[in-house]
């Protein structure tokens, strides 16, 4: 009984020390304010999530096309607007970071669909590659570009 009570007392003291630790370690803090996301940080997070979603969607489309779930004509119809969306999301984040003086590294470019063999090569796109700062969630590496005819300037080129 006594041993149990002594053990219980020790347990209580240890628990109390652990709970009181933030106050004991830092009795007079310069600031006791909890970190919280500012409106600016929330906006940045939203933009980063939007960028990730847009890039992931583009990769999904490429993969679905390569596995035959998306027909060529549907792919051609869809890939342009999705590239525009991805580019807008990336630019929005870049503009946001630039306005705040921040920057993120550029790592990968969004792949351009290649023309099939024998077809005339389309004119070089406007040199404005859309940076992809990381591989998006669903595909670690950008997939091989699909071999479908390029009907005209797409996405970032326009």
């Amino acid at each position: 009984m006594t041993a149990a009570l002594v053990l219980a007392a020790v347990l209580a003291v240890v628990a109390a020390m652990l709970v009181a630790r933030p106050f004991l370690r830092d009795p007079e803090p310069a600031s006791d304010r909890l970190d919280e996301l500012t409106e600016r940080e929330r906006r940045r997070l939203e933009l980063a999530e939007e960028r990730d979603r847009a890039l992931a969607a583009l990769k999904e489309l490429e993969f679905d096309h390569r596995t035959g779930k998306v027909a060529d004509e549907h792919y051609r119809e869809t890939v342009g607007p999705m590239r525009v969306r991805a580019a807008e999301a990336l630019r929005a984040l870049e503009r946001f970071d630039a306005a705040a003086g921040g920057d993120e590294p550029r790592m990968v470019e969004i792949p351009d669909p290649l023309p099939p063999p024998g077809e005339p090569k389309p004119p070089d796109p406007v040199p404005d590659p859309v940076p992809e700062p990381y591989p998006p969630p669903d595909e670690a590496d950008p997939p091989e570009p699909a071999r479908v005819p390029e009907p005209g300037p797409l996405g970032v080129e326009t």
Binding site: M1, A4, L5, L7, A8, L11, A12, V14, A15, L18, V19, A20, R21, P22, F23, D26, P29, D32, R33, L34, D35, E36, L37, T38, R40, E41, R42, R44, L45, E46, A48, E49, D52, R53, A56, A57, E60, L61, D64, R66, T67, G68, K69, V70, A71, H74, T78, A100, G102, E104, P133, Y134, P135, P136, P137, D138, E139, A140, D141, P143
Partner: protein, 658 residues
């Protein structure tokens, strides 16, 4: 040592109450040290709960009958492993297990989330604190496992059906699942409370949800196998209220695991996800309530008590608070994207969600029916198997089909041409299977025929998906490594498919025969000849066993000898109890079982009333469990690329602040 156990629980109560109150004040008033102190209280609560659990385990191991709990659930002859399993065999012990897992999960989840969702943690701590306070309160003031008494000479013993190896794993796994659903709930509520409704709560809890869902699934499968080999009625799932209580949160969590992908990929269904995560948590509490309150008669109601009112109150408060919070934060949860087409992957997820939730709610209605009729008519009325089977067929078969359709359809929008092309192979497989089954005369059961036809469609679509993906990426390993969640998910689908085939085979195509036999007499069942040879008795630990020796042959050749019988336990709660001890032959030819039950034994005349069931493909159900776990592990396995991407996303916010 009981005073130490009591003190440890009292300390836990104080600590989690502090985590709730100080955590709420710290988060609300943005006081850093108070919030950290509340978080530390959660860690400390885990430590004190571990001490309480160790005290109870030590008492069970020593058969210390001065603990009323130990005396009520064990006896001296009970095997050591079963004595330890008495920890969760009774109400007080299982509540302690709930609290132990909850404080453990909460501590680890909060600690890990400090890296990616630091700003969310102060709001999550009080939510964990609130749930833990309820359970600690129950253990300290309502149902303590540390009540002492003058030690009797022997304990009351354990319910015979609990003396089974599956009981060492089935309840703890279920509890790991039930309690695990608290983690996504706590983070979802924390996100709503703090108005941080971005994706962080989903990112942080993704693996927790998957792990809880896996534990719940495996726990149910082990429970089904326990019922199959132990209860002795020839089945594995009886739509028992407590079985339903585990199935419902699993269905809600399944819906959530699918719909959360739409939030991650398309920013859609934020409100629906918040509702689903709350529903899954409330149903997990409801499951514990059903198991522990004894309000409904069930083969699982081993511990009946007046806990019902407390649990019901807690469920009502949880439903009201979470619904109010979701309503309050609706403007933040509105999605900016819409469903582009009704023929798309998103749409199949939506249909899947609607069917899963509808199925879950019909089971809830059937499970609550006795309580509702008791309240209205003062006389409980139960809903029987046909009700559940009707909805199983109505919702389960379309769900099975959707499992095959989903992977074949593209995200956003699928053209009919592409759909037609991708459906060709699975559709041909389904038609061929259905035709072959009809040709061999297996069209007697329409649900069975549909289940097998749809299963062929799903199996072909899964294989086709792997083949096309491998072609596109160049290697199977590379394909899976690139997207573990997707291909792990397909493996889980394959496991569910195996389960569906096993269930359809063992229920729609089973054969049942029952007959009284005297020694030397035989009976024929589905090609087997069973000859009852003799009756024998023997002593086993803690019981006396009586067994009928039955020779099994097929086409004149000996196959095996089965020994169904009964065990009589002289020491058991409420007096001596007898249990059915079934004897099973696993037939490798059809992956099925020859299942024998000695329903009645007349020891004087030597007559045995033998019930024999032939259940084709039933072993696929148990084999599915291994594939289920493997698929879940593949889906859960950390993805270095994704980790880097997320770390970069969240580090940028932290760096900006610094």
């Amino acid at each position: 040592m009981a005073p130490l156990g009591r003190a440890a629980l009292l300390l836990t109560f104080g600590l989690v109450l502090y985590a709730l109150v100080a955590g709420a004040i710290g988060a609300r008033q943005r006081r850093r040290r108070l919030a950290l102190s509340a978080r530390n209280a959660l860690y400390a609560a885990f430590g004190t709960t571990v001490v309480a659990a160790l005290v109870l385990l030590a008492a069970l191991a020593r058969r210390d009958f001065s603990f009323a709990y130990v005396a009520e659930h064990t006896n001296r002859d009970l095997a050591g492993g079963y004595a330890l399993s008495a920890f969760w065999g009774g109400q007080e012990g299982s509540l302690l297990l709930w609290l132990l897992i909850l404080t453990g999960y909460a501590s680890v989840a909060v600690w890990l989330a400090g890296r990616t969702a630091k700003e969310l943690v102060p709001w999550v701590v009080p939510v964990f604190g609130a749930v833990a306070t309820f359970f600690a309160f129950m253990l300290v003031f309502v149902s303590s496992p540390f009540h002492t008494q003058p030690a009797p000479a022997d304990g009351a013993g354990m319910v015979p059906s609990l003396q089974n190896p599956y009981m060492l794993a089935h309840p703890p796994l279920l509890y790991l699942g039930y309690v695990g659903l608290t983690v996504p709930f706590a983070f979802a509520m924390g996100a709503l409370l703090s108005k941080q409704t971005d994706e962080r709560w989903i990112v942080v809890t993704r693996r927790w949800t998957l792990a809880a869902w896996t534990f719940l699934g495996v726990g149910q499968l082990l429970g089904a196998h326990w019922a199959y080999v132990e209860i002795g009625w020839g089945g594995y799932y009886a739509w028992d209220p407590v079985e339903n209580a585990a199935l419902m949160p699993w269905l809600a969590a399944t819906a959530f695991l699918h719909s959360v992908m739409m939030q991650e990929k398309r920013g859609m269904l934020k409100v629906w996800n918040a509702i689903l995560v709350s529903l899954a948590f409330c149903l997990s509490i409801f499951g514990t309530f059903l198991t522990r309150s004894g309000v409904i008669n069930s083969i699982h109601s081993f511990a009946q008590s007046p806990l019902g009112g407390w649990f019901l109150g807690f469920i009502v408060v949880t439903v009201v608070v979470s619904a109010a919070l979701i309503r309050l934060r609706l403007p933040l949860l509105r999605s900016r994207t819409t469903l582009e087409s009704l023929v798309s992957r998103e749409a199949t997820f939506l249909y899947n969600n609607l069917l899963l939730v509808a199925f879950c709610l019909t089971i809830l209605w059937g499970t609550m029916w006795p309580i509702l009729t008791q309240a209205v008519r003062a006389e409980p009325s139960t809903i029987s198997k046909p009700y559940y089977n009707f909805f199983l067929h109505s919702f389960g078969l379309p769900l099975l089909l959707l499992m095959g359709i989903g992977p074949l359809v593209a995200w956003r929008r699928a053209s009919l041409r592409a759909v037609g092309r991708t459906f060709l192979v699975p559709f041909a497989a389904a038609v061929a299977t259905g035709g072959a089954l009809l040709a061999v005369g297996l069209g007697s059961s329409l649900p069975g025929l549909l289940a097998y036809t749809f299963s062929a469609f799903v199996a072909a679509s899964i294989v086709y998906e792997f083949v096309r993906g491998t072609r596109a990426t160049g290697s199977l390993m590379r394909l899976v490594a690139r997207n573990r969640r997707r291909y792990g998910g397909y493996l889980v689908h394959a496991a569910v498919l195996m389960l569906a085939i096993g269930v359809a085979g063992s229920s729609a195509y089973q054969t049942v025969r029952e007959r009284g036999l005297k020694p030397g007499q035989s009976m024929e069942v589905a090609g087997y000849t069973l000859t009852y040879e003799s009756l024998g008795t023997r002593d086993v630990r803690n019981a006396q066993a009586i067994r009928a020796v039955v020779d099994v042959s097929r086409n004149g050749s000996h196959v095996t000898t089965l020994t169904p019988g009964k065990n009589t336990y002289p020491v058991a709660p409420g007096g001596p109890q007898t249990s059915n001890e079934v004897s099973i032959y696993h037939d490798p030819r059809n992956l099925g079982d020859l299942f024998t039950i000695a329903d009645q034994i007349d020891a004087k005349s030597g007559t045995v009333f033998l019930k024999v069931l032939v259940k084709p493909l039933v072993n696929l159900i148990w084999a599915a469990g291994f594939l289920f776990v493997f698929g879940a592990l593949v889906a859960m396995w950390p993805d270095a690329v994704e980790q880097r991407r997320l770390a970069q996303r969240y580090a940028a916010a932290a760096a900006a602040r610094a």
